[in-house]
């Protein structure tokens, strides 16, 4: 009986790890050239039977493996930071980009020492609009080729994998994740509002600054490598909360796994629908995420 209880307490890990593995396999097998599962497993785990290096082996090891690992990292980073921001801002519909894009996140965490949440969000909006003004100016200056690249980046896209950055991305994101996970109970308190959190014994100003700084680093890692992939940080924590509750000790790791699986799948989709052309993954996540967001808003309105 106790074993069953223990199992159901941790069953979310099994489900999510399974989903992540499945999505990784799908991500590896889909693309311009579709690689069947049997051959995929053979290349990944089997011995090289034909002595030489097959084309599929090169595609998988040099192109797709870095790509899916990259997608998993970005998805996990965005989801975990999204969950953290939502707790501290006490708004389940907040987005990691709410503090203004990347640079804004860093600036926002500095502003956080001085103001309350509303000023913080306003500051985020201001930094965001300042950034977009600068951006438009730069796009206007740039030659047409770089404009295309910039637009691609703005839409969020996983095409520029830098395999040499990937290990560093994983190292820093893991550290940031552990730092946030340590604060799981603090994030729980934040959901009660800062006033209550302070009365429950939390040094709110300091804790808020720490969470914003670390979650900001996570967003920055994702944004600097993949551009603005929207809706992952908003939708994934929300779905995880609906399935397994809002406690952050579980929400953070579950969001990481679910976010990774989701972005790997979205990326696989973006590579296959118009193959050999490639959609920016941000377009796919927005097409899935925006309707879902509207659905959530309606659900909230009915309450």
């Amino acid at each position: 009986m106790d074993n069953v209880k223990q199992f159901s307490r941790f069953s979310w890990v099994l489900w999510l790890v399974f989903a992540l593995l499945l999505s990784l396999l799908i991500g590896l097998s889909c693309g311009t050239v579709s690689i069947p599962l049997r051959e995929l497993l053979n290349v990944l785990f089997g011995s090289a039977s034909d002595g030489g290096v097959s084309l599929n082996s090169v595609v998988i090891h040099k192109i797709r493996l870095p790509r899916v690992l990259f997608a998993a990292l970005v998805g996990a980073a965005l989801s975990v930071s999204g969950a953290s921001f939502q707790a501290v801002l006490r708004n389940p519909l907040a987005d990691p980009y709410i503090l203004g894009v990347s640079g804004g996140a860093a600036l926002g965490s500095v502003v956080a020492c001085y103001g309350d949440n509303n000023t913080l969000i306003l500051a985020g909006v201001m930094v965001g609009s300042l950034a977009s003004a600068l951006l438009l100016f730069l796009l206007w200056l740039a030659p047409s080729d770089s404009v295309r690249n910039a637009v691609f980046w703005l839409a969020g896209n996983l095409a520029n994998v830098r395999a040499d950055w990937l290990p560093w991305g994983y190292v820093f994101s893991s550290i940031a994740f552990l730092l946030l996970w340590r604060k799981a109970r603090v994030l729980d308190l934040f959901t009660q509002g800062e006033d209550c959190a302070a009365d429950l014994g939390l040094d709110v100003g300091r804790a808020r600054m720490q969470v914003f700084a670390v979650a900001g680093v996570l967003v920055a890692i994702a944004v600097s490598m993949a551009g603005l992939v929207g809706f992952v940080g908003l939708v994934i924590p929300h779905v995880v909360r609906l399935l397994w509750g809002p406690g952050h000790a579980r929400l953070l790791p579950a969001s990481a796994l679910a976010g990774a699986a989701f972005l790997v799948l979205a990326d696989a989709l973006s590579r296959t629908v118009l193959a050999p052309a490639e959609l920016p993954v941000g377009v796919v996540t927005a097409l899935i995420g925006a309707p879902f967001f509207l659905y959530l808003l309606r659900l909230r309105g009915q309450r």
């Binding site: 109970r185 603090v186 209550c196 009365d199 429950l200 939390l202 040094d203 509750g245």
Partner: protein, 259 residues
């Protein structure tokens, strides 16, 4: 227990409290009464060190209120806030467990002893049957009990309450009031509450502190000493008759009728 000495506070030019002095004795239930804007909630914030006074101070056994850390203060005093919306669907048990943070903020969660405290508190506040329900699905009366349970799980000697029964119906108001009365008598909890319900305050409080609209102390003493027609007229500008109901041995405040 708590010594308030020459406490003054103002928001900008507007003085809220001036030279307020009183003591709170261990195990008493003290009700703060006064008109809107008299600074009752501000006084509660000053008592727990959330605001820094302009003059005077609030002395606790462990030090001066606004100099103690939040974590330290949360082991001395728990606050039962007014009801607010719950956007996150924590279970009642998780919610009550948050009260244990002050005593133990370990990253590994709460200890077995604290789990026992949580279960006991759930029973005490009569919400054990709701333990696995989501807090956003509860009624106002149920949610107020959950918040009270969380405050009790903090295991502090002092409890501060800010108009906790103002949004509840008669039944829930009476049951919360009874619980407070019992906590005070049976467990020697010190309770300081802000309220607008004079009759209920007279029924359960040992003492009442009456503030006037400028935040000055009009009277401090037992309910029958403080709740006189003259004091109430001075505080609220309303003519009332104060009577003793012999059937219930209770104090009744009857305002002059409007028509």
């Amino acid at each position: 227990m708590i010594h308030v000495e020459g406490l003054s506070f103002s928001y900008g030019d507007e003085a809220i409290l001036q030279q307020t002095n009183f003591h709170v004795y261990p195990g008493e239930l003290l009700t703060i009464l006064g008109p809107n804007g008299a600074g009752k909630s501000t006084l509660l914030r000053l008592l727990r060190g959330r605001l820094r006074p302009d003059g005077g101070c609030v002395k606790w056994r462990d030090g001066i209120a606004h100099q103690l850390s939040r974590a330290h203060m949360a082991t001395l005093v728990a606050v039962l806030p007014q009801l607010s919306a719950q956007p996150f669907a924590f279970s009642v048990r998780e919610m009550v467990s948050m009260g244990c943070f002050a005593a133990n903020s370990s990253i590994w969660g709460i200890s077995d002893e604290q789990k026992a405290v949580v279960e006991r508190t759930l029973k005490q506040t009569d919400i054990a049957h709701l333990a696995n329900r989501a807090v956003c699905d509860l009624s106002g009366g149920e949610l107020q009990r959950v918040l009270l349970a969380r405050a009790l799980a903090q295991q502090t000697p002092v409890l501060l309450l800010d108009e906790v029964t103002s949004q509840l119906d008669l039944g829930h108001t009476r049951s919360i009031a009874k619980l407070l009365y019992c906590l005070c008598r049976a467990e020697r909890k010190t309770i300081i509450q802000v309220s607008h319900d004079m009759e209920l305050a007279a029924e359960i409080s040992q003492r009442i502190l009456l503030l006037d609209s400028r935040g000055e102390t009009l009277a401090l003493g037992t309910p029958s000493q403080v709740l006189t027609a003259a004091n109430i007229a001075a505080a609220f500008g309303v003519q009332v008759k104060v009577e003793i109901d012999n059937n219930y041995n209770a104090l009744r405040v009857n305002p002059a009728p409007i028509r």
